[in-house]
């Protein structure tokens, strides 16, 4: 079977309780159609979302699922989001710096279980984390993020799953497929293998499981 499928087919392997990486910097690179499909056409619950931001204006499907069908979230920015505030007050929102967020996901995909960073000392981010001193500087240990599912969006996708994310839409979507067991990409444009310049492939097709065509 090829990787091209309908929205419903693409989200079918997702299970209750799954951990889900969601691409996008605000609405740019955010897989809105797939997220709406999960919200409106599935009963999935207890989902754990890992996304750069929650935002009730720009990311409404995520907001609704965070409010009623989520057991928690990792994010870097959550404004405005009533759902994120609710999760935070319930101790279910892990807020982390965006560079640490990016690097933890990259590490998850690249077989690095943990790394050290200077970011977070003197703040809530430091709490409970092992530290190390190297050449007189203190660093926090941060662990890799891995997930069951990654949902991303790309400007151009070929039938093998190779993705080209244009301009600033790369952000986190390029990092997430390697860190997930199952990845769905929304393709704004679909082409045959070989039609994307090999120098422009931002995610290789071997990391993509399902392609849905959504239009620009």
């Amino acid at each position: 079977m090829g990787k091209l499928m309908t929205l419903l087919e693409a989200v079918a392997p997702i299970k209750d309780g799954d951990t889900i990486l969601v691409g996008g910097f605000g609405p740019m690179g955010y897989p809105g159609r797939v997220m709406r499909t999960i919200l409106k056409q599935t009963e999935l619950k207890d989902l754990f979302f890992i996304a750069n931001a929650a935002n009730q204006n720009y990311l409404p499907a995520l907001e609704k699922m965070l409010m009623t069908r989520s057991r928690g979230m990792i994010a870097t920015f959550t404004r405005p989001s009533k759902a994120a505030e609710k999760l935070y007050n319930e101790g279910k929102l892990e807020l982390i710096p965006q560079g640490t967020f990016s690097e933890r996901i990259r590490a998850g995909g690249a077989g690095i279980p943990a790394f050290y960073t200077p970011v977070g000392f003197g703040t809530a981010v430091e709490e409970g984390k092992p530290t190390i001193e190297i050449d007189g500087v203190k660093y926090l240990m941060e662990k890799a993020i891995k997930a069951d599912v990654a949902l991303i969006k790309a400007a151009v996708v070929d039938l093998d799953g190779n993705c080209f994310m244009t301009g600033c839409t790369k952000n986190f979507g390029t990092l997430m497929p390697a860190a997930a067991k199952y990845t769905v990409v929304e393709a704004e444009k679909l082409v045959k293998p070989g039609k994307i310049d090999p120098e422009l492939v931002t995610v290789p097709g071997i990391l993509i499981d399902a392609i849905v065509k959504v239009g620009a």
Partner: protein, 206 residues
């Protein structure tokens, strides 16, 4: 001016985002957006928007010749690796030790860190650019009361009233805005200020 030729500069959301439209011609700086871009140019006219080119505040942007795009791991690799010279960002509170709070007001507002925490920890120079007060209430304190975004990180505070350096001795006022008196500045500031007798008048750029 705060920037030197060749500087790589990251501009935070809010007041700092107006800076690209006010860079003196001839000064060659490179603007980085932590959303994955180097070489940001001024905002485009509405009919020339490219939906894939935007700044870290989500505003439409342009790319200067010689600019480039990359993902967030590369972007924060540049930031964490010390390749961004200057970051300019807003604050809810800043204090005389250079502590910065800009991610939440307990019980009222929760925004999160975004890329600010990485930037203020790793950029070579951290400049806070903000209104001096929040509708009259001070934002510069002897000690921040809100949860910190970063400890001992701020180098310079630029407001509509003054240009202030964070020094080991405390907050040193280097310039005061032309229409502001020393007493007005002190009244608008909770923190102790070191104000030299010959403090300069702030240069205002268009």
């Amino acid at each position: 001016m705060m920037f030197s030729d060749g500087d790589v500069v990251n501009l935070g959301i809010g007041l700092p985002t107006i800076i690209p439209n006010h860079i003196p011609p001839g000064l060659k700086i490179t603007l980085q957006g932590e959303n994955g871009v180097l070489g940001l140019g001024p905002a485009p006219p509405l009919h020339e928007i490219n939906k894939d080119v935007f700044d870290a505040g989500g505003g439409w942007a342009t790319l200067n010749p010689g600019g480039s795009f990359f993902d967030s791991a590369v972007s924060f690799g540049l930031i964490r690796g010390g390749h961004v010279d200057i970051t300019v960002l807003g604050a809810l509170q800043v204090d005389k030790e250079g502590n910065l709070a800009n991610w939440m007001v307990p019980g009222k507002l929760m925004a999160g860190y975004g890329g600010a925490m990485d930037l203020i920890t790793c950029a070579k120079k951290v400049i806070v650019a903000m209104e001096h007060t929040n509708k009259g209430d001070p934002k510069i304190f002897n000690k921040c009361s809100f949860p910190l975004t970063g400890a001992h990180c701020v180098d310079v505070i630029v407001t509509n009233m003054a240009f202030i350096e964070v020094t080991p001795e405390g907050l040193l006022v280097k310039e005061i805005a032309p229409n502001v008196t020393v007493d007005e500045l002190k009244n608008a500031t909770e923190a102790d200020l070191i104000i030299p007798d010959d403090v300069a008048v702030m240069t205002v750029y268009e």
